[in-house]
Symmetry: C2
Subunit: 468 residues, 2 copies
């Protein structure tokens, strides 16, 4: 194809892969059920490379799909319309650490964990910690506005993006923001690009805000015999004006799977677990953790523990960390969702998820970030079983419906991608979809940038759920 030859001239033919093996490798991401072969896999070396690639793609109306490490859970990086998969393996450098202005300038291909380790060694802290951070890239985090365990206290990726360089669909390169805590010169263009999932352009350089590293951290755990007790604990912690660094939740089904997988000795009769962490000034951390354990006990926690050493903290965290791997062992296909509700509705939401799973006869267990209402109902199924998949899809539609009924959203941190695009209208309404389309069509009139993502061919009809 002529355009592939043009791209080879830009980046060098060694950085354009078109073998079946390569195309297959990049034909999917971490989402089950979405796969399509791209036409080429390209590794640019610079913003200028990407600018030229964008112009070639535009001239030939070839889809351009930026991809970090492919950990996307909503088919946001699956090349479902073919075209170019754009990799950042050659653009993975930390360009500048500015300790005076507490910021760091990086290329999109830097791994999240590498960035975190780099700054923590210097007494600084980059808080967003998506569960995939060991392999995810900062570029992917920015495109998806990734969250993580520390979201309640520290916010999400968008709260740390000070500036972006991006290549727009018209071939222009924009530089937004700067090393500035305050900047109101024009529309917040970087906020529009963060979380746009590559549909409005390609982010090619990122300036991130850093904060001082908290000096102290403590971890505790509490097990409850009912969902209500764990949810009441979460509410009371917040109403006591404590904002913990993390407040993680697992339900009984998740704990059972973890226990079978890891033999940690988790209590067999507990219905819910809260993993509690605080960081900051030492005295405050001690007081907060003690207060949170007290609140847990007052609300009926049957077992509580506080880690005295880092090793013990690691043991307490091991179960929560293993949740997804443990669940994934049970059935051939794992579908991890992230319906999110206001914090006050967690118990209601977990109960509704259970009812929905039972009614549809599918296996769903729930864990997630209780402090910010970001739950991960996880379905264990088999994508080869068409009849079961119909029930799975219906169950998730009902879960999205329930989340929205409770004032929540269809996705807290995973993104819309192609998978959840048919449900987006449920959250943002026809007016929101219209406004998004107006923006998309104005900026990317040829629909070159990650086509098929966010914007659905057709919205799903709202499901009618018998409310219990």
């Amino acid at each position: 194809m002529e355009w592939i030859e043009s791209i080879k001239k830009v980046v060098g033919s060694e950085h354009v892969r078109t073998s079946s093996a390569h195309l297959l490798t990049y034909s999917y991401d971490a989402t089950a059920g979405f796969q399509a072969m791209p036409d080429a896999v390209v590794s640019p070396g610079s913003t200028e490379d990407i600018r030229q690639i964008m112009e070639i793609c535009r001239d030939h109306q070839v889809p351009l799909v930026p991809r970090g490490s492919g950990t996307n859970l909503a088919a946001g990086t699956a090349p479902t319309s073919g075209g170019v998969v754009l990799l950042f393996n050659r653009m993975n450098q930390i360009l500048e650490l500015d300790e005076d202005n507490l910021c760091i300038r990086v290329q999109p291909g830097v791994l999240t964990l590498d960035l975190c380790n780099f700054v923590e060694e210097r007494g600084l802290f980059y808080p967003p910690d998506p569960s995939s951070m060991k392999i995810s890239t900062i570029g992917g985090n920015v495109s998806e506005n990734s969250g993580g365990l520390r979201g309640l206290k520290y916010g999400v990726t968008k709260d740390y993006v000070l500036g972006l360089t991006a290549v727009l669909p018209n071939g222009q390169v924009i530089k937004t923001g700067g090393k500035l805590a305050k900047d109101v010169a024009g529309y917040d263009l970087k906020a529009l690009l963060v979380g746009a999932e590559g549909t409005l352009g390609v982010v090619t350089e990122i300036l991130l805000k850093l904060i001082p590293k908290p000096e102290h951290q403590r971890t505790g755990i509490a097990y409850f015999q009912s969902l209500e007790e764990s949810a009441a604990t979460v509410s009371e912690i917040i109403s006591e004006r404590i904002i913990p660094a993390t407040l993680e939740f697992m339900d009984r089904g998740t704990m059972d799977a973890v226990e079978r997988f890891m033999n940690l000795g988790l209590p067999k009769d507990a219905e819910a677990m809260l993993l509690i962490e605080q960081d900051g000034e030492a005295g405050q951390v001690e007081r907060d953790l003690a207060a949170m354990i007290d609140i847990s006990v007052r609300n009926g926690a049957v077992i509580t523990a506080v880690a005295e050493t880092e090793e013990e903290a690691g043991q307490l965290k091991a179960g929560r960390r293993a949740a997804l791997s443990a669940l994934a062992r049970k059935r051939p296909t794992t579908i991890l969702e992230d319906a999110t509700v206001p914090r006050s509705e967690i118990a209601n939401m977990v109960r509704k998820i259970r009812e929905i799973a039972e009614r549809n006869q599918v296996e769903i267990h729930t864990f997630g970030h209780a402090g910010d209402g970001n739950l991960h109902p996880t379905c264990l199924t088999d994508i080869r079983n068409g009849e079961e998949m119909v029930r799975v899809e219906r169950a998730f539609a009902e879960i999205f419906e329930a989340a929205i009924d409770l004032g929540g959203t269809i996705t807290g941190e995973h993104g819309v991608g192609e998978m959840k695009s048919p449900y987006l209208q449920w959250k943002i309404g026809d007016e929101g979809i219209d406004l998004m389309k107006t923006i998309k069509q104005a900026i990317d009139p040829l629909n070159i940038c990650n086509p098929g993502k966010m914007f659905a061919k057709a919205n799903k009809p709202r499901v009618v759920v018998a409310h219990g």
Copy 2:
């Protein structure tokens, strides 16, 4: 006019003012030199009222200028194209405080200080504190993405907006966001509306994030004999990983004006003053304040003081609070700017401002938020003196140029409005302007929403400054 009659039918004729006295009252805002008579001043009572007003304005191509308390310093709320000035005096209610989810839902006309007091009485905290907060409205703060003294530690208005209801130019009402710490369902439309200065629609309801109120606060002050010493102190505070709640700066000219105005006994030979505050956990606050005073002394502070009581803290703060009023007494016209630079460039910027003032023979003194590099060079002049105003305008152009040369921006927290629109291209480039125009034209093709703001008829040519 027919359209005025139509609007009267929507809101009731008692809420549509067209007398000369009313039109004159709303013909300007807090910006010198921008005045034009609107055709009507309208006080809607609801989102639905505003939706109908928007449709009438669109059908008759009448400009619609939303206005809070008119404290805008960049002519952002001056009705320079005539049309409707939209007031929020009837939409000034706190609608809901949700303590479980730490958020508050308000109408745009609520005064910032009223909101702050309301939540602080309940142990909660809304940090953005623009200097005009006693009279500014939350709606104005959202439209301008207002900053304040606590910006470095706590961020600015956009960091607290969880959701918005807005009427778009096409007459649609959108509801974005929710009581959610995490939500990535679609483009961040609320981030686009925050700081859009009313050019993309009218915000009609606001959901704001709250945080627990810091339990303790301490105030200190330090005077220096050179700019460099004060700037080195700011740098060292940050490099010691301390993030103070406020870190305010005044130069000698500002202190002189304050002293003449208030007789506070400020030292006569000091070149710079830093007002230092920390809040949070009591022990940490004491340690941070002591450390910051130590750093000040090490860097040459000739006088330092720490307030032992709230009354003493009030005395230390009195000078900084009076800065603008004190300066404003000196000459008939006060022009308050807010060029902003990376924190590490504060001393360079203050020095450049001095050189520029001297070269252009105008009187400019500087105070501002040292912690976040947000400076307020304030020009004392007389708008009736055309010859002097030419020099004033040239001086400010050179100041914007200098800020951008140092990696800064033309406005940190005041907005672009009409006054600074000719300079916006300097910061965001032709590419940024093009992208903003693409968005504006797509959303507001008839240019009904606050026309003439942000988008300049012509860009100013860059000034060539002899760099010292």
